[in-house]
Structures are given as structure tokens and as C-alpha cells.
């Protein structure tokens, strides 16, 4: 009966004929998932909702209208002109103009504005007298990223506005537009952001956050699946001494397939639906994704088989997967981390996977160049041997 169903399910599939023990475990696990709302959720709507949340938070990609205030102590034509220019910068939103700098400072402390621009007394007069007055910007860098965005928006605006004045005064003395322009800036710079051409935070952060979410799901679901079977004393239904490998693969296979599919879905979304360039080979990234999932399953099962206690294994899993994002080397470069953090960076499969994903998306590096990263992921697979023997011992 069993064999018949097997044939019906995957007609002519060699895998099924040779390894019906594996297929049996696979089918049993599907039943388990059907009966557990929690496991079912972790495979279906939970990844969907998590992905949608992460994507929605960053979907705007570039920050616009960051509220700042201006303290204008000069109230001259020039200061009004500068205020107009700041207002025209799409990254900034001048929410208030104060007469009093104390009020502006209070506003920043309370988080209503992120910065205040201070135009001093006699500003216009000092410019005309070539005294080179300073405009001050007080920027809240507690919110580092926001602070950096405001910094660069303000310095671009002010240097452009200053260059305009320079240009006009040079035009007066030189008379020629070309030379006047050149006197303003003898050397020009052109900045080329390679690979993330739009300097978009969405691409930068979400392409790292989604695999981070995926690793949590992979580890947690595999622990819960095995935990459930062992708690319900079903280990002997799945495993028999001397017959562990096939059912082990069969039992984990539904999770491998589903999370691999989620991985493919997010990759296709990021580089297919969204406009980001992808230079390299999708096959290679899919392969690395597959290895990463196996690696994390190995880790999760090792946590579980340490003492076959689900909740304890989950505590370990939390410790291992929860801080992962900080150690990825995306926001803060791995090469600048101290030794321990760099070590932790390396024992997270997602670090190696992500390097491969980025280099395939951006550089289109050859498969040969990717070999070291793939080998790094393979290093996690011996954990499965540990798991095999631990299960063998408790049967």
C-alpha cells in the first residue's frame, strides 16, 4: 500500500524507489505539520509577514523630508536665500524657524527635529566684507544614519550656495563665465558609487535582513519539529537503529524545500521585481542558499540533540541567531571587528552566504572565486554526523 502511494506521488522518480524509507519519513512529517498550527505557520504565513514587514519599513529607500529647524539671526536677503535653498533640498524639511537657539536645542533634545541650522548675526555683511562667516549646523548624531544623511544634505546645499556667490563675484572680476567657474572649483570631483548606484538603503539593508529572518525560521522550525516528535515519543516511528540517515533526510526535507522556496522567492523579488541589478549566476546563489539552510539545520539539530530538550535548545538558538544581524559585516565592516566578534561573524553561515549573494548580485564573480565561500558553508555539514550519532545513541 505504502509503496503504491509512493509511486503515485512521484511517478518514475528514482529517489522514491530506492529510498522509500526516506519518503515515508517525509510523508509522516507532512502529516505532523498538518496537525500543528504552529509548525504550519512557521512555514507559511510567518515568513510572508516577516518579509513584508521588513520590506515595508525600508521600501522608501531614500529618506525624504527629515525635519530640521533654522535659527536665523541675520534676517537678511542672503540668509533668506539660503533658507530657500535648504528648503529646496528634498532630503530636508524645515519644520520651524526660530529666533531663539535655546528653543531649537530643546526641539532636538525632544526629538521633534534632527538638526538646527544657525545663521549668525551680520552674516550678509560679513560675506560682503569677505570675512568668510560660518553657518553652523547642530546635528543629532545619536541617530547616526539620520545624522549622516542630514550632514551630507546640508553640506551639499551650503557649498553649492556658497559656490554660487563665489561664481558671481568671480564673474565680476574676471568677466568670463568659463574662468569664473574654474576659479570657483579648480578641481572637480565625481563620486561613483559602485554597485548600489542609487545609494539606496532598501537594497543595502533588506538584502541582508531577509536572510537573517530566514536563518531564525530554519533553526527554530527544525528544533520544534524534532522536539515535537521526541516529546510525543514518536522517535521510534521515524527512526530505527541502523536506519537513521534516510528518515533523517526525509524528516527535514519538507523544511528544506519550503525555506529554500522562500529564499528563491525573496531573491527573485529583490532582483526581479525590484529594479536592482544582478550580474552573476542565480544558480550559484540558490546553491549557496541550499547549503546555508543545511548548515543551519545542522546547527539547530545539534542544539536539540545536546540533551533532547526543546525549550533549552530554543534558548541556545535564540542566543545564536538573534544577534546575527550586527555580526554580518554589512552595517559595520567585519574587518574592523575585534577578534571575538570576527570569530562569531565566521561561525554564522549567513555571513558567508551573504558575501556570496552580494558578490553575485554586484560583481558577477566567477564560480571559482566563490569556491572559498561555498567551502566555508560546507564546514558546517559535519554537524549532521554529530546529530546522526546522538540520535543513534538515544534509540
Amino acid at each position: 500500500m505504502e509503496k503504491l502511494q509512493c509511486k503515485e506521488f512521484v511517478k518514475g522518480f528514482a529517489l522514491c524507489k530506492g529510498n522509500s524509507k526516506m519518503f515515508r519519513a517525509f510523508r509522516l512529517e507532512i502529516e505532523e505539520i498538518k496537525n500543528s498550527f504552529f509548525l504550519f505557520s512557521l512555514l507559511t504565513w510567518v515568513p510572508l509577514v516577516s518579509f513584508i514587514l521588513a520590506i515595508s519599513i525600508f521600501h522608501q529607500g531614500v529618506a525624504r523630508n527629515l525635519p530640521i529647524s533654522i535659527v536665523d539671526n541675520d534676517r537678511s536677503n542672503l540668509s533668506r536665500q539660503i533658507i530657500m535653498q535648504i528648503k529646496a533640498n528634498p532630503s530636508l524639511h524645515v519644520s520651524q524657524i526660530f529666533q531663539d537657539s535655546k528653543q531649537a536645542a530643546k526641539n532636538i533634545k525632544e526629538g521633534q527635529t534632527y538638526a538646527t541650522v544657525y545663521i549668525p548675526n551680520h552674516f550678509e555683511r560679513d560675506v560682503l566684507q569677505k570675512k568668510q562667516p560660518l553657518i553652523s549646523a547642530f546635528v543629532n548624531t545619536q541617530y547616526l544614519l539620520i545624522g549622516k544623511m542630514i550632514n551630507s544634505a546640508l553640506s551639499t546645499t551650503i557649498s553649492q550656495s556658497s559656490a554660487k556667490i563665489d561664481f558671481v563675484s568671480n564673474l565680476k572680476t574676471n568677466g568670463q563665465q568659463e574662468t569664473a567657474l574654474n576659479a570657483t572649483a579648480p578641481i572637480k570631483t565625481q563620486i561613483t558609487p559602485f554597485f548600489n548606484t542609487y545609494q539606496n538603503y532598501f537594497l543595502f539593508l533588506v538584502s541582508a535582513i531577509l536572510p537573517t529572518i530566514l536563518q531564525i525560521l530554519v533553526v527554530v522550525s527544525i528544533i520544534l519539529s524534532f522536539g515535537k516528535s521526541f516529546k510525543e515519543k514518536k522517535q521510534n516511528v521515524f527512526f530505527k537503529k541502523g536506519n537513521i540517515l534516510a528518515p533523517l533526510i526525509g524528516k527535514t526535507l519538507p523544511y528544506t524545500i519550503v525555506y529554500f522556496t522562500w529564499g528563491v522567492v525573496y531573491l527573485l523579488y529583490m532582483y526581479g521585481v525590484e529594479p536592482w541589478e544582478f550580474q552573476g549566476s542565480f544558480a550559484l546563489v540558490f546553491f549557496a542558499m541550499f547549503l546555508m539552510i543545511l548548515a543551519y539545520q545542522g546547527v539547530g539539530l545539534s542544539f536539540f540533540t545536546l540533551n533532547f530538550h526543546t525549550t533549552r535548545a530554543l534558548s541556545l538558538a535564540a542566543l545564536y541567531t538573534a544577534p546575527a544581524f550586527a555580526f554580518l559585516g554589512i552595517t559595520f565592516p567585519a574587518s574592523s571587528m575585534p577578534e571575538f566578534a570576527f570569530f562569531w561573524h565566521n561561525i554564522l553561515p549567513v555571513s558567508h552566504y551573504l558575501k556570496l549573494q552580494i558578490s553575485q548580485a554586484s560583481y558577477g564573480s566567477s564560480a571559482l572565486d566563490m569556491l572559498p565561500l561555498l567551502i566555508n558553508l560546507l564546514y558546517f555539514l559535519p554537524l549532521w554526523v554529530f546529530v546522526y550519532f546522538k540520535i543513534w545513541r538515544v534509540l
Partner: protein
């Protein structure tokens, strides 16, 4: 059972449960050391760059020298073509490229502004920013020098020439985190989230444990609740002071708020988390579900709180949703009080939200504990 007996019973169930202890004591202590680790070196190290000098003039050599003298940058190779340099970037040998065009010197002396190209890998924003910032600073200095010498040629006195190179400029003063430290940016807020998440896991496992037992535990609800408030409140009050006091001191993080303000603001934070945890635990059928659920909320909670990514850029429905968790107003409020030195008046909104949460989750936890009593009654 008297109140004291209930307290003892709860205490025993909490501290004999290894995963709970592992989380609410082990986890809290471990994370305090663990989380700041990646940023411990604080500043991004010197970045290797490649220079492509297509001019090979005196002026271009001068520029290369001044680039190399920039603290952020270290020229490790000179490539003959932009393509070679880009390959070195892809292979990770360098982090950035500076290209000096051919006829650079000639163009400068002919007053045709030549363009220097700076390139860096924008996949890694922090590296990208450092390369661009370092290179631009050094090029601007060179550019200013040229401007001064041009003015000198026109017989302007040196002091006047130096002053004239720009009409006015911007001076930036970084507030609250003057060195742009990553530790100061991330760690204070993450600590608040850790306090909430470990408490929710602990109370979640405890709730799951009672629901698994399916034994009648027939004592007045106020006793159950107040014993949890006492046990978790005392423990996490200590944790909070340990984090915001000792650990902040250890990592030399600024802490501007007075102890009184911290305690005043921390009280509704701890209470709302205890009641949310009790409500959450009451809903769980078993102990295993607690950790995964809490774990999966961490990433959305940290990124939607408005300090990593500006709240102006986050969809409103996510912002409103996140306000149902104590960590969101708590992170915002603690950052303002402790990192930015706001007066207590400046956090009244967050303080109010936290007290609203206390009321909401108190009612919900009373409801769920009452409901569970009936579930546990032996069915006839």
C-alpha cells in the same frame, strides 16, 4: 493558599525551570557583553584604496601624497587602468578607487577644471562613506591650495587670498554622539529591547508551563499577578539598573538622565512588559512556543522604532502597530532622556503610551488568567 505561599510557588516554578533561568539571568548577562562586541573597535580601520594616475605629473603626485596622508585612507596599489582598479575592488583587495585623469596638470593650469573620479563599493555603506569622505577632504584641500595660488598670481596678498577661496562655509557640530560612534548609536536602544524580549520569553515559558500542567491552580488572580510583578519586577529592575548603570559605564556610553528619571520612566516600562508577558504566556499552549514568537518580533521591532531608520520614512501602519509593544516608546524615551539629555517633559508622550499599555495589558492578563482557570477545571 496565602499570598506568601503563592509567591513561593511561583518563585519555585520560575527558578527551577532551566530555560527560564537561562533566559532571564544567563541571557541578560551574556547579551550585555555580547551585543556591543562588533563595534568594540569603534572606528572603521584605515581603508585600502587604489589610485589610477593617468597624468603622472608633479601635481598628481602631490595629490596622491596628500591622499595617502589622510587618516582614513591608505594607498596600497597604483593601477595602470581604471579597469584593473575595479577588478582589485571586486576581489576585495581595495575598498575604493581614485582616478586622476590624463592632462590633469595641464587642465588645472589652463583653468579647465579637470574631474577626479572617486569610486567605492556602495554595498557597504560605512566603508563607502569613509572612502568618499576621506578622498573628498583631501582633494578639496588641494583644490583650495590651487585657488589660493591662482589668486596669488593675480597679486592678491596671501592673507586675503587664503580667505577668499570661499564666501562662507558650513561648520557641523555633532550633538550627543560627537564621534559618530556605532556603539552609542545602536547599543543603548538594543539594551532596552533585550530587557523586554528576555522578560517576554521568561513569562511566556512560565505561562506555557502552567497551561501544559493542566492542573487546577485555584488562587485569586491578584495573587498570581502581584507575585509575578514582585519577582520579575525586582529582577528586571536590577537588570535595568545594571544595564543602564554598570554596563553603560563599562562601555563608556553617555548617560545624562538622573537615576530618579530613569526609575520613573522605567516603572511603566517594566510593568507593561510584565503584564504583556503574562497575557502572552496565558495564550500559549506549551513552553516551546514562547522563544520562537518573541525571537521573530525582534527584527521588526528594532528597525521600526525610528532610531535606525527615520520614522518619517516608515509607513504609518507599522509605526502604529509597533506602539503596542513597550519597547518602542521605551527605546524612544530612554534615548531622549539618557542619551540626548531631554527634560522629563520631553518624554511625556512616550510615558503616557507606556501607562496606557500597563492598563491594557493588565486587563488582558486578568482576562486570560480567568479564562485559563476554566480551561483547567476537570471536565465533567
Amino acid at each position: 493558599m496565602s499570598f506568601f505561599e503563592v509567591l513561593k510557588f511561583e518563585f519555585k516554578n520560575i527558578f527551577t525551570n532551566i530555560p527560564i533561568v537561562l533566559t532571564i539571568i544567563g541571557g541578560v548577562l551574556l547579551y550585555s557583553f555580547f551585543y556591543p562586541q562588533p563595534y568594540a573597535n569603534e572606528i572603521v580601520k584605515t581603508l585600502k584604496i587604489s589610485v589610477v594616475d593617468l597624468d603622472k605629473s608633479e601635481l598628481s603626485k602631490k595629490l596622491i601624497f596628500s591622499l595617502n596622508a589622510t587618516p582614513q585612507l591608505n594607498i596600497v596599489r597604483q593601477d595602470t587602468s581604471p579597469n584593473n582598479a575595479k577588478n582589485a575592488l571586486i576581489e576585495g583587495k581595495v575598498r575604493g578607487i581614485v582616478i586622476i585623469p590624463a592632462h590633469f596638470k595641464r587642465d588645472v593650469s589652463l583653468h579647465v577644471s579637470p574631474t577626479i573620479a572617486i569610486g567605492a563599493d556602495a554595498n557597504y555603506f560605512l566603508i563607502y562613506g569613509s572612502v568618499v569622505e576621506g578622498a573628498i577632504k583631501s582633494i578639496l584641500t588641494q583644490s583650495a591650495n590651487i585657488k589660493v595660488s591662482n589668486l596669488l598670481v593675480k597679486n592678491t596678498p596671501l592673507s586675503a587670498a587664503k580667505k577668499q577661496y570661499t564666501s562662507y562655509s558650513l561648520q557641523t557640530i555633532n550633538l550627543f554622539n560627537p564621534n559618530m560612534s556605532y556603539t552609542h548609536y545602536v547599543v543603548p536602544a538594543v539594551f532596552i529591547l533585550i530587557l523586554q524580549q528576555t522578560m517576554l520569553v521568561g513569562l511566556g515559558i512560565l505561562g506555557g508551563f502552567y497551561n501544559e500542567r493542566k492542573e487546577k491552580y485555584d488562587v485569586p488572580i491578584w495573587m498570581k499577578l502581584s507575585s509575578r510583578v514582585l519577582i520579575f519586577g525586582t529582577l528586571f529592575f536590577t537588570h535595568m539598573l545594571f544595564y543602564l548603570g554598570f554596563v553603560f559605564e563599562f562601555f563608556s556610553l553617555p548617560h545624562l538622565a538622573s537615576a530618579y528619571d530613569i526609575i520613573k520612566f522605567g516603572t511603566p516600562f517594566l510593568l507593561s512588559t510584565i503584564f504583556l508577558g503574562t497575557f502572552f504566556g496565558g495564550l500559549l499552549k506549551n513552553q516551546e512556543s514562547a522563544t520562537p514568537i518573541v525571537l521573530l518580533t525582534s527584527i521588526p521591532l528594532i528597525f521600526s522604532a525610528g532610531f535606525i531608520w527615520p520614522k518619517e520614512a516608515i509607513p504609518e501602519w507599522i509605526t502604529y502597530l509597533s506602539l503596542f509593544f513597550p519597547s518602542t516608546p521605551a527605546m524612544q524615551g530612554f534615548l531622549k532622556l539618557n542619551q540626548m539629555g531631554a527634560e522629563f517633559n520631553g518624554v511625556l508622550v512616550q510615558y503616557g503610551i507606556l501607562w496606557l499599555q500597563v492598563v491594557l495589558y493588565l486587563l488582558l492578563s486578568i482576562y486570560v488568567l480567568k479564562r485559563n482557570e476554566y480551561i483547567h477545571l476537570p471536565q465533567k
